[in-house]
C-alpha cells in the first residue's frame, strides 16, 4: 500500500534500477527460447529457417528489436552500476544513469536502422 507512494515519486536512480531488473528478467525469460531455436539447427534446420524467415515479419521484428534493446539497456545499466560501485564515485550519477540509457537506446536504434 505504502509502496505505491514511493514508486510514484520515482527518481532517476530508482528508474534505472527497475529498468535494469525488468530487462534482466526479460532476457532471462527470452534466453531459453533463443537457445531452443538455435538448437533446431541440429534437429530441424528447416524449422529454423522458418523461424528466421519469421523475423522478417513486422511484429516479430519489433520483438527482436525489443530484445536487442533489452540487452543494450541491461548491459549499459549493468556497466553503469559497476562503474557506480567500483569507480571512485562522482556525484553526477543521475547524469550517468540517463546517459547510459540514452547510449543504449542509440545503439539499439542503430541496429534497427541497419536491419531495415
Amino acid at each position: 500500500m505504502t509502496t505505491a507512494g514511493i514508486t510514484s515519486r520515482a527518481h532517476p536512480l530508482w528508474l534505472a534500477y527497475i529498468l535494469h531488473r525488468l530487462s534482466g528478467l526479460g532476457l532471462a525469460l527470452f534466453l531459453p527460447f533463443h537457445f531452443w531455436i538455435l538448437a533446431l539447427a541440429l534437429t530441424d534446420p528447416a524449422r529454423l529457417d522458418g523461424f528466421l524467415a519469421f523475423t522478417e515479419i513486422g511484429a516479430v521484428k519489433l520483438a527482436e528489436f525489443g530484445l536487442v534493446f533489452l540487452l543494450a539497456v541491461h548491459m549499459f545499466g549493468g556497466l553503469r552500476l559497476m562503474a557506480l560501485e567500483w569507480l571512485p564515485w562522482t556525484p553526477s550519477q543521475k547524469t550517468l544513469a540517463a546517459g547510459a540509457t540514452a547510449l543504449s537506446f542509440l545503439i539499439a536504434t542503430l541496429f534497427l536502422m541497419q536491419a531495415v
Partner: protein, 237 residues
C-alpha cells in the same frame, strides 16, 4: 488562516483509516497535525516524537507515501489539494497506529558492526586527527546520521529482503572502516559481506534521495562494495 482546514487521513493498521479535519496554520509541521488530532479529536491516536527539531530521529512516518521526518516537514511542502495522508513508517513492524518497532533497525545497526572498535583507552592521550585527510573526510560524510530509519523505509531492497542490513547500518560501517581510530576492519568487512550485507544493495538510491539530513548512504555502500571486492581478491573472501 484558521478558517482553512486540512483533510488528514491517518492509516491505523487493522482499524483501517480515519479522516480528520484539522485547522490549518501558517507554521505547522506534519507532527503538529498528528499532535492536533491526538490532543483534540482522537485521544487514542498513537505516534512517537521526542526532540521536535530533527535531532532524535523518532518521528518518521510515511507522508503521502513518502518517508519523512515529520517534525521538520512543513505541511505546505506535502499538502495536495488540502489533503495529507499519514501512515506508519514502512519496512518496520507496527506497534500501534503511527508507532513502529525500531528494534530490527538497531539490531541490524549492531549487526553491521556499527560500534566503535577501539584500542585506545581513557588513559591514552587524544590522538591528533587531520580533518582534511581523505579517510576522515569520507568517515565524516555519514557521521550526522540521526538513525531516523527514513532511508530504511525508502529502500525496496529492505522491503523484499528481511536480512538486508539496510542503508543506515551499512553507512555506519563505512564510516567506521574509514575511521583511523577504529580497529575492527576485518570484523566490519565480514559483517557487511554476509548474506544480509552490502552486496544486496541495488544502488536504487532511494536512501540518498529521501535522507532528511542529505546524507548519502548509497555512496557509502558503494564504498563497502569496493573494499569488500578488494579484500575478495586479496583474502579470497
Amino acid at each position: 488562516m484558521t478558517s482553512q482546514t486540512l483533510s488528514v487521513t491517518i492509516d491505523r493498521g487493522a482499524h483501517g483509516r480515519d479522516v480528520f479535519d484539522v485547522p490549518a496554520y501558517e507554521s505547522q509541521t506534519v507532527l503538529d497535525v498528528v499532535s492536533w488530532v491526538q490532543q483534540n479529536a482522537d485521544p487514542t491516536l498513537s505516534y512517537r516524537f521526542a526532540c521536535r527539531v530533527g535531532m532524535c530521529g523518532s518521528c518518521a512516518m510515511m507522508v503521502n507515501g513518502v518517508p519523512r521526518w515529520t517534525c521538520r516537514t512543513h505541511v505546505s511542502k506535502v499538502v495536495q489539494d488540502g489533503a495529507v495522508q499519514i501512515g506508519p513508517l514502512r519496512n518496520l513492524p507496527v506497534v500501534k497506529d503511527l508507532v513502529v518497532d525500531m528494534d530490527p533497525f538497531f539490531d541490524k545497526w549492531v549487526g553491521a558492526e556499527g560500534v566503535h572498535h577501539g584500542a585506545l583507552t581513557r588513559d591514552d592521550p587524544i590522538a591528533a586527527v587531520d580533518e582534511t585527510s581523505p579517510a576522515r573526510v569520507e568517515a565524516n560524510a555519514g557521521i550526522e546520521c540521526i538513525n531516523c530509519s527514513v532511508c530504511y523505509a525508502a529502500c525496496d531492497t529492505v522491503a523484499g529482503n528481511p536480512d538486508y542490513l539496510g542503508p543506515a547500518a551499512l553507512q555506519r560501517a563505512w564510516t567506521l572502516l574509514n575511521d583511523a581510530k577504529d580497529e575492527g576492519r576485518l570484523a566490519i568487512l565480514d559483517a557487511v559481506s554476509g548474506s544480509g550485507g552490502c552486496h544486496n544493495c541495488h544502488s536504487m538510491g532511494s536512501c540518498t534521495t529521501y535522507c532528511p539530513n542529505e546524507l548519502d548512504p548509497m555512496s557509502a555502500i558503494a564504498g563497502l562494495k569496493r573494499e569488500t571486492a578488494k579484500s575478495f581478491f586479496r583474502r579470497g573472501r
